[in-house]
Symmetry: D2
Subunit: 334 residues, 4 copies
């Protein structure tokens, strides 16, 4: 950690600060420049609250050299984490496609979609039971009943299931769920993350709409610090000034996260773009960028086109995407 | 609501759509342009899920004309809402300063700060007991004990207290709290908002770092739809590309919110800027922009300057800000 | 074009407005809703200044239905534009890689790089002669001399050259240049765009750091409205809150632009990410997203590693990227 | 300047780098931490191109300690710069309101507006002759004729005039103009900035829509490095995800710029918000934040309300704003 002092810092102030830092077990190297004095803090700085330092009158800026995340950091865990979900492996060269409808609507719907995405090569089934909606007047999901229907689809198809949790008090309903998803809006719901750290089920953690890559890793750290090492990261688009797409899919996050962490990284092109016709190119691009998996919305309801989400593919479109994704994987990894 | 159809829409598709819309009780006006056909939907469109419409193959874009919020909308409630917190009124011309430390640390600290901000003109006391922190290794607040200390300060000074909730399961601890704060990171924690709609205590709802003004109002709508009309909105800075400040305080949100809603709007210049020396100019600017109140961090610990938050004022600085704020209010409202 | 009127608009005001719109040759359809009245303007609305309408007291919002760009729009020109640069075609299924150093530094450097990127499959040579730099104290490029060196490399290798213009007064120096690049910071230098509309050379127009896709197309329209139809669009990253990468590469812009316009769309992964190790994954991702070409920085100076830009590939790295890009193209287009 | 080395850097690489840095006249302090080695570079680092350093394989990150701007920096020029425009002083406690129409449209219009804003207390007259417009089909201003009309208004009212330049080749037309404005879209038109560095007229430099405070100062540095010390900075809103306002006015830039630079800082609330009804609260807020002046659009054309810009005040509204602004100034500066 490097602390830059303000020009007017007195020797007495500097001595006090150095003494305090040493009392915390750190070594301090002092560099006196023409305009500024710089302190190099050496040792375990992960316990130093950067905001406390910044609060001091004599501090101009502070820069962490080692990242504030430990369990998620590749520095301390160089090998890729491989997460095994009922035999489906994600990470470390293993690639999975997670597919299914935005919302679980009925037994017929979820079973139909499950069968068709399984046939097209999806490894896991997704479906929303608890739905975070911007408006209190929009459909909030089938909730407990939706999870029942997902479990029925799991029984029939053998596919492990992924579904979103919105509050820690619902955890008992998720006992048979294979992967618990934390949605973008809950990425910094720290009380929820702490609860998910107490279990051992894989957690699919989505990046928040306005969260940095570092904050995503810090949220993973919350889960891992609690004892649960099974975290899958998911890029799903960030909020920018561009309005043609719902969000801007940040694919450079994929190789960056692979540098910074050993955790698997998947991409959700459906929510990022919000438009079905952009899902195919963005799914292929995500595979080309080196993602460890994809999460794609698929809907199967030719009788009721009105209920189709604007971002869902038909099973036929999904099968075409899946086929091309595997070809791309070859070009990338050969 | 206006729906623009894609150029290739067939008459059959249009007829089907119009029939479906009429079955929902809406009137449909059709305008045929040279390149596009436009449908004007008239009636109660608040129940139409805009995403469902967008999902149709023949729809190019959809635009709401009336806002999707009802209870929060000034259209349906032209008069300012005035919220009365133990005699301190906020909104409708009433202005309050809420002040106190970022975190409650000890009885001595909270009592000292409470006494000094009361003397300088603060109407309510704030203090963090449950602290949302980006890192699991940072101080998480005194939690239940912090609330006890706040209640002690309330008893001694008579000031109503404001403190943040992080999970609905903690609600029993907040029974004696006067105003419950929902932090920026929980602005779209919809399960929490629903629980807060079931009580009648005033809720101070902070705008999320990447949330639009419309989303802020939709989150207020969650609370109000549950039956709790006592919502205070708070602008506290949004996330932009600028890195000199922690966030960018969006003061134009204040007059905009006053147009769109009858709810009171306050500003938190401390969290927005993250730097104590910017709090004074931004507090004055917020008052000049017409805010109904301010929320300001004040710290009182000369013996331990090291613990000062970088964004906290001393009681003396706070007293100077408060004095100038009242002068500004005169220039604005005369 | 759809104009939504404010609730309080009087019949007299509406009549005046309608009369004025009709005097401009437009048909006006009026829809009276419960809360709002909506005007549908039919005819050639491209000459209506949307800001003028918004300035009226009775107007709440205005929405264009047909896009404000005409020459660049796919609606009026459904077939892909193919740009032929001395036999190298871009667009309409033709893919080109443009490669070369960030700055032209010496004859030896530019010749070496040109030879090696040609061998690896690059179709065009790029190199900066005029360099836009944030700081007046940074290297500003070899300017006229740099163009001379590029022309020498063109003569020796037969590769057409691409280089950036910073001011219309430099145009005479660009007579032998094959493609003139407009940098991100000049995307809305309208006086420059107008001058480039007067010539017939292909213009490579980069998207500005904070410009929307629509604004990019409007800037293309400036060039095309002047009579120059040869515009190549280039996505090179936008500015967001994320700080790990220099910019956020917006790859969804590629399929979106392909929908909206017939112009070719290429991607510059080097400037977008600012880091050489992210260039490969982002180049592959761009090809997978359907780009018509890539623009990649390559440096060739083993004796002076200190001068390597942080975003440049070595010729060996470039050759590996180029080889994989062609494989990806197969998976996408088969 | 602080350079952080990557974990794997060899002693040989470090020695080479240190030798090279010393050959540039810098002192190098080395701090060896547990995980990283840090180099502190001491001396005149303003000539070190940070991108060159970042390009080295062994460098993880580089952080400037002293700012890269010199002439604009308050460190080297502690006293406020006061700019005198024909007797109207701006900066160092002097406050000016610049007012006038968005576009100069006719002699009658500009004279009427000039008279009324003068009477209401404006010190300088603004008016657009060259208009940067997103669309080539929108009104581009009266250009040379517009400047003639402004000069006529100057002669009649005695008010100095401010108008925008779009290309250095137009400079001869600006000989009698008092303050030359560089618009937001040209903030990084470096060739233009260099030309403006060769004259001595005050330059009003607007912050770009997506430019940081540091970049704004670097653009001022371009002008000042050329020899022209007369730069007035102008905050006019930045581009964010919020769509209710055209841009987000970043008022915290005002006190921040006052810390970093000695140059005067004014605010343009008209362009920032794009809505006349937000101009008043944002003008007052800007004054409260400590701005050295305001730039406000005023229109005076009761016969042709249709031509009113959506962001322009009437002369009566302007007079009310001006009166309140002076009251706010008292509360701030007393």
């Amino acid at each position: 950690m490097v602390a830059v002092l303000k020009p007017g810092a007195t020797q007495q102030q500097i001595d006090n600060l150095v003494a305090w830092l040493k009392s915390r077990g750190l070594d301090v190297h002092i560099s006196v420049g023409r305009y500024r004095t710089i302190l190099g803090l050496i040792g375990d700085t992960s316990q130093i609250d950067i905001d406390l330092l910044l609060g001091l009158d004599i501090i101009e800026s502070v820069k962490r050299i080692s990242e504030p995340f430990k369990s998620a950091s590749r520095t301390f865990h160089p090998d890729d984490t491989v997460i095994d979900v009922a035999g489906r492996k994600i990470g470390g060269g293993h690639f999975q496609i997670i597919a299914g409808p935005c919302s679980v609507e009925s037994e017929e719907q979820i079973l139909n979609v499950a069968e068709s995405v399984k046939e097209a090569g999806a490894g896991l089934l997704r479906g929303g039971a608890f739905k975070p909606r911007t408006s209190p007047y929009d459909f909030q999901g089938l909730r407990a009943e939706g999870i029942e229907l997902l479990l029925e689809a799991k029984k029939r198809t053998g596919m492990p299931i992924v579904t979103e949790i919105m509050d820690a008090s619902h955890l008992p309903l998720f006992e048979e769920v294979d992967v618990i998803q934390v949605g973008a809006r809950n990425m910094q719901n720290f009380e929820l993350l702490k609860e998910l750290g107490k279990i051992r089920k894989p957690i699919l953690l989505k990046r928040g709409l306005a969260n940095t890559i570092k904050e995503l890793l810090m949220s993973a750290e919350y889960i891992m610090a609690g004892g649960n090492p099974n975290v899958i990261l998911c890029e799903r688009g960030i909020r920018t000034f561009e309005t043609y797409t719902r969000n801007t899919l940040d694919l450079s996050a994929v190789p960056l996260l692979h540098e910074l962490t050993h955790l698997p990284v998947i991409v959700d092109p459906s929510h990022a773009t919000g438009q079905a016709r952009l899902v195919r190119p963005m799914a292929l691009a995500a595979a080309a960028a080196g993602a460890d998996g994809l999460m794609i919305e698929v809907h199967n309801n030719p009788l009721c086109a009105l209920c189709d989400g604007p971002q869902s593919l038909t099973p036929e479109q999904f099968a075409d995407v899946a086929r091309r994704v595997w070809k791309i994987r070859e070009a990338v990894t050969e």
